[in-house]
Symmetry: C2
Subunit: 231 residues, 2 copies
């Protein structure tokens, strides 16, 4: 087995027995994390239907039955991959807080989302594939948890607008725009690379992308850019 199984961020040698939500020994957890990491990539490239168990197994470097042994079914493995991604997704909006400066908070949010697109493109693609299919696994998450977060953050933006710190922009549609503009660098990377005529999106390309998105959002919200966009 390969050694890059630390995707779930488990602390090695922490608990001697088990833990809530992650039963089993350390080797079991490591194997499962390894399978999840490989599966995320395959599901990202092929979608749910296009990812066969044999392909998933080959990507993990294991025989097919082992995947069934650990996750039961393809469906369950896919759900586990999605769950792994949502945990990553949720804490991105932590910068949007009432007491912060709008320009800085929005810049930080865009920076975090762009970093996600760069560092975890597979996660973004799996999520995109799922939503494109009609989000059969994420319906409740989108309608409950995500909706609650957006409602909460929309209040923050409306508060900023009332205090004259930014224009009164529709907060929800602003979020849709920020999600779309940042995630497109992960989901549609093939198209972007083709149009730019480059083999890879390097640091400079991502920096230009981040600055462009930040500029559109900050100016669109009527907040001054200052040096918040430049690290």
């Amino acid at each position: 087995m390969k050694a890059d199984a630390d995707i779930a961020g488990e602390k090695p040698g922490d608990m001697p027995e088990e833990q809530a939500g992650a039963p089993g020994g350390r080797i079991r957890q490591a194997t499962m994390a390894h399978i999840l990491a490989a599966a995320e990539q395959v599901f990202a490239e092929a979608g749910y239907a296009g990812a066969s168990m044999s392909r998933l197994a080959k990507a993990a470097g294991l025989p097919k039955p082992n995947l069934h042994y650990y996750f039961g079914s393809k469906q369950a493995l896919y759900t586990a991959v999605l769950q792994n991604i949502l945990a990553l997704w949720l804490d991105a909006a932590d910068d949007i807080l009432p007491e912060r400066d709008p320009a800085e908070a929005l810049s930080a949010y865009i920076r975090a989302k762009m970093a996600h697109s760069r560092d975890r493109p597979h996660a973004s693609k799996v999520f995109a594939n799922e939503v494109l299919r009609g989000a059969p696994e994420l319906h409740s998450y989108l309608g409950l948890e995500l909706r609650r977060i957006v409602d909460e953050k929309a209040l923050v933006l409306e508060g900023w607008a009332k205090r004259g710190l930014m224009d009164a922009v529709d907060a929800r549609h602003l979020f849709f725009a920020m999600w779309a503009m940042t995630q497109t660098y992960a989901d549609f990377d093939v198209q972007i690379r083709a149009v730019l005529g480059v083999r890879e999106l390097d640091d400079a390309a991502f920096e230009t992308a981040r600055l462009t998105v930040t500029r559109l959002v900050l100016r669109g919200c009527g907040v001054t850019m200052k040096e918040a966009a430049c690290p």
Copy 2:
């Protein structure tokens, strides 16, 4: 067979025999257009791998072998659907011309793209699915035809910037942003409806979306909005 087979925009009773690129009689063309319309929807909802021939056949209201009779293979049917979509995709940027006013031209472009997302969401989703998979069928299109168009339009924007009509924004990344913001209303509609807590995106929602996107782009480019954004 249902009567909504006029998607390809064929002129009924035009030519008695054949035409380049569309051989066969009128009923043949009508049947093929009907299959293509149904297939677009199924490919959009299920992706390439998730769309089985039986499902495609059921959606078209025909037995499976008929689809093979007309298109040969699932692959060929899919390619035909994509080809149909590209024709639609290409003429959206017709508004970006040097002699036009930036605010009006960009507003018109965003309006056209939003209208596409509203009127042909399935087309957008098929395209998104294809690019997510790595664009195996569209690699040459993206790297040649689309790239050429974007290069051409980028020159127009740079011309506007030199004449002081707008700020010097990276034109290519601005296009990525406009594509992402507008297409998200087709591709991620499930997520948007869930967050907004509505069953359907109605006229008002699309108008708010369009105004938000237009605002971000025009202000981000430093062009005055005037009434160009309002019909």
